[in-house]
Symmetry: C2
Subunit: 156 residues, 2 copies
């Protein structure tokens, strides 16, 4: 495991403590699982992976953990069509961990990341016009990805 990862996990753990939350094996495991990937994992997938290090860990505890960690801001979750919520560590300075927004293809369901900067203009506009504070990381924009467009061009 890269030193960066260890540091990342410790930061998260420290944040937990600072918020008066307890550091338990389940919580450590959830953080570790999410720290070991840049993917967006569904709760069920996290359950599976946590089971590898904490065999007894129960589904419900993990859901509760995901919820607590999201509240504190350690995790970010996005609701995607057809798959419930997906989770990832809130972006920090770790490599590949830049803040990003999400695009989802309505045809193939694939999830794409885009830099939050792409939404900066829109965010400013919504704030100015409606007083709405956009949370770009939380955004899930739907549409048709390049591959699926190409496919339908061929089909007619």
């Amino acid at each position: 495991m890269a030193p960066d990862s260890v540091r990342e996990q410790e930061l998260a753990v420290a944040l937990l403590r600072r918020r008066g939350q307890r550091v338990t094996p389940v919580r450590r495991a959830v953080i570790e699982v999410l720290d070991q990937t840049t993917e967006h994992l569904a709760a069920e997938e996290i359950v599976l992976r946590v089971a590898r290090t904490v065999p007894g860990a129960h589904r419900a505890s993990i859901y509760r953990t995901l919820s607590s960690l999201s509240e504190i801001g350690i995790l970010t979750h996005t609701h995607v069509a057809g798959a419930g919520a997906v989770y990832h560590l809130t972006a920090t300075d770790r490599p590949g961990g830049e803040a990003h927004a999400h695009l989802q293809c309505t045809r193939c369901g694939r999830l794409l990341d885009i830099p939050v900067d792409a939404l900066r203009g829109l965010a400013r506009q919504l704030d100015r016009d409606l007083g709405f504070e956009l949370e770009p990381e939380h955004a899930a924009l739907m549409g048709v990805c390049a591959d699926c467009r190409a496919a339908s061009d061929r089909t007619g």
Copy 2:
């Protein structure tokens, strides 16, 4: 019922026929329910309202209808956090039926409409950079609404 509504429904029915789909009481009822409101209705709410005109209508049939009508393009659905999908008639020229995108508040869950024009610039950018065709009506952007921001300003 306004003449506009009647015409709107007939357009939908005609479109159904044109696509070789059958026009049944359940389908008529679903279209009628959605035509009588500008709200975004959850499937379950549609089930309730359809029951008023077609008492025997079954949940499953209505879900299947919602899915068929969405495929044809008569309906548009948006996935919202914590409430599954919400449906509305695809925007046409009817009053209050302009195409719109959706904002959802992460605090209070409220759904706000914004004109699709607000996303025009972003859509162009995504198309140019990624070949991604944004479907603005399908978009559900998350953030904090003005009311909730005001509330948290007060609370600290």
